[in-house]
């Protein structure tokens, strides 16, 4: 597995009347998934750190925007059911038909905020040599 996340994947929370909208930028596609993880981690971080843990995530899908939604929904599920607070992508393989990743984090008390990841306003595309993503979390 390779972790070519690329330099400086970034996320930025933008004004949204009711929910939490986040814009993601990165130098490659994998970086968008990393930036999404960072945004989600920021939303759920809180409480004391517990045992360090690595979890595997395997997701099928050819539509990158939906794969990003599935990625974040998987992190949400793990936070809620396994009290897993993600920190970083330890390894990832992104193929045309899905992804396989190892996510490093810790057991803890994820902050209770995110209910779901909407399909509203989704973005996953390259523009001007930079990859851009956008998602809206229902909170």
């Amino acid at each position: 597995m390779s972790p070519p996340v690329g330099a400086r994947p970034e996320h930025r929370f933008v004004e949204h009347g009711g929910e939490v909208e986040v814009e993601l930028t990165a130098e490659n596609e994998i970086g968008i998934f990393a930036a999404g993880l960072d945004a989600f981690a920021e939303l759920v971080a809180g409480g004391e750190d517990g045992e360090p843990t690595e979890l595997q995530i395997v997701l099928p899908g050819r539509d990158r925007t939906l794969l990003l939604v599935d990625w974040l929904n998987e992190l949400l599920f793990l936070a809620e059911v396994q009290q897993f607070v993600p920190r970083r992508i330890a390894a990832i393989e992104l193929e045309a038909d899905g992804l396989e990743a190892t996510v490093a984090g810790h057991r803890g008390t994820p902050r209770p905020l995110v209910k779901g990841v909407a399909l509203n306003g989704l973005r996953f595309e390259q523009e001007g040599g930079v990859w851009h993503g956008r998602v809206v979390f229902d909170v």
Partner: protein, 481 residues
């Protein structure tokens, strides 16, 4: 007269009702109407809520008009505070028109104790609420359910908890739809949703969910207040929660199914989150069965939360006070229901909007038959909440619906930048409000100034004839996730 907006032209139909004509966009099937006065309309125009409402007006099978309540604000797909009715059997059902938190709603309990009688026991009582009610995502509740027991909750709602001593028949009678939507199909609820829901019954959730101790500050309608069992000075507890992770997962699962199949039904939409299918289709029926199951779980969840409140009352105020703590009513504000309006069966989607049936409706308990269905409108944290009663105008103008809250006026990001949680906590406590919230950040995001003026919202629905004020409740203490 007309008021220009960034997206369309609003025409004023009467003092409290505005319309974006169907002709304003080629894909709109019906007009988009908003209940508001001028000041609220300005606030509503500050975000994309009305553009989203116009998108809702494109849904196949939508009838008469889509509606925005005065607390409307931007959501994801449907605006929060939006109402849309689709003709049955073949009009669409849209999971996004219900939202992730299926049957998010409010339940009001009335205590047989006045605020004066409570005296110095206020802080201990709020503290007991915070100890008895886990608030957050993933927090395991006090009720452990086997798979079969969870399915029984999905089928029967709070009735499934009576054998455990949680709630009573009177509670069921005083719950919208008796606490059980027909047609619940546990088999249409995914394994993942079951997994999220199994341990969360009796937890409140996060964001704007809360348990609030209140005092009846003013009664506006004596006859209705008598019917609801409310008197000035009395203590009440307002519970705001929903279907927790189980309902969130039901929405996630079925939005994706409909996103994948809608082209097969010839449906094209301006927003992917509006994903839908005909209510009569296999996908539509599956969603409605899963949604009813999640709604029943939410009714049961609020029943479990009410039980925890009663147990807290027992510990602080004694057995008799707990025994005499009655449920006023429980109403949903995120749900789709089959109802009859305008002489036909329609599926009414209420996303951040409350059913408000008037006196004489066969759907409401006999105790309220002469005054109308109770409706509870939570204010923002630190401000008043209102008890309303449904009015005939709701059946004539809004598919039997009124508002659901104050409605956000500011993003969470901006609220956090405007005030720190610690400072807000000090401000609320200086007003005499006991606050229990583990997250200063979460507290700041729910700051009172991040919401519209709930008094103005309520005034609009009253002047529009949708519901009337019965009582005002002021906060004494709040528990938030």
């Amino acid at each position: 007269m007309a008021v220009s907006s960034s997206t369309s032209e609003l025409v004023q139909l009467d003092e409290m009702l505005w319309e974006i004509p169907a002709a304003s966009r080629a894909d709109m099937r019906v007009p988009a109407r908003v209940f508001a006065d001028r000041e609220l309309l300005e606030a509503i125009l500050a975000d994309r809520a009305l553009e989203q409402l116009q998108n809702v007006a494109t849904l196949p099978g939508v009838v008469e008009a889509v509606l925005a309540m005065p607390d409307v604000h931007q959501g994801y797909g449907f605006p929060v505070g939006g109402v849309a009715a689709t003709a049955l059997p073949d009009g669409i059902v849209s999971p996004g028109g219900v939202g992730y938190d299926i049957n998010c709603g409010v339940r009001l309990l009335a205590l047989p104790v006045s605020a004066d009688e409570l005296g110095a026991r206020r802080e201990p009582l709020v503290h007991e609420f915070s100890r008895a009610i886990p608030a957050g995502t993933g927090k395991h509740g006090p009720i452990r359910l086997s798979s079969d027991e969870l399915d029984e909750v999905l089928r029967a709602g709070p009735r499934a908890l009576l054998a455990r001593g949680i709630g009573c028949e009177d509670d069921l009678e005083r719950t919208e739809s008796g606490g059980c939507l027909p047609g619940a199909a546990p088999a249409a609820v995914s394994a993942r949703a079951h997994e999220r829901g199994a341990g969360q019954l009796g937890t409140a959730g996060s964001g704007n969910h809360f348990i609030e101790l209140q005092r009846v500050d003013r009664v506006f309608d004596r006859a209705a207040a008598d019917a609801f069992g409310l008197t000035e000075g009395q203590l009440t507890v307002l519970i705001h929660s929903g279907s927790r992770g189980l309902g969130h997962q039901v929405c996630t699962d079925h939005v994706r199914v409909m996103d994948a199949v809608q082209a097969r039904y010839g449906i094209e939409l301006p927003d992917r989150q509006l994903a839908c299918a005909p209510a009569s289709s296999p996908e539509g029926r599956a969603y409605l069965g899963a949604m009813a199951a999640a709604a029943n779980y939410a009714f049961a969840n609020r029943q479990a939360l009410a039980h925890a409140v009663r147990e807290s009352v027992r510990r602080v105020l004694g057995h008799d006070a707990a025994q005499a703590t009655r449920q006023v009513y429980d109403v949903a504000h995120n749900v789709a229901k089959v109802e009859r309006h305008g002489g036909r069966d329609v599926l009414v989607h209420r996303k951040g909007a409350t059913r408000a049936f008037p006196a004489g409706s066969a759907e409401i308990p006999a105790d309220f038959a002469r005054v109308g269905q109770p409706v509870f409108i939570p204010g923002s944290m630190g401000t008043s909440s209102y008890v309303l009663a449904g009015e005939p105008g709701s059946m004539e103008r809004s598919f039997g619906t009124t508002c659901h809250g104050a409605g956000r006026a500011m993003s969470r990001t901006r609220a956090r930048k405007t005030i720190g949680g610690a400072e807000l906590r000090r401000q609320l406590e200086s007003q005499g409000i006991v606050v229990r919230c583990p997250s200063n950040q979460g507290l700041a995001e729910e700051a009172p100034f991040a919401y519209k003026d709930v008094g103005r919202v309520v005034s609009v629905v009253e002047q529009a004839g949708l519901a009337r004020r019965v009582a005002r409740l002021v906060p004494l203490g709040v528990v938030k996730g």
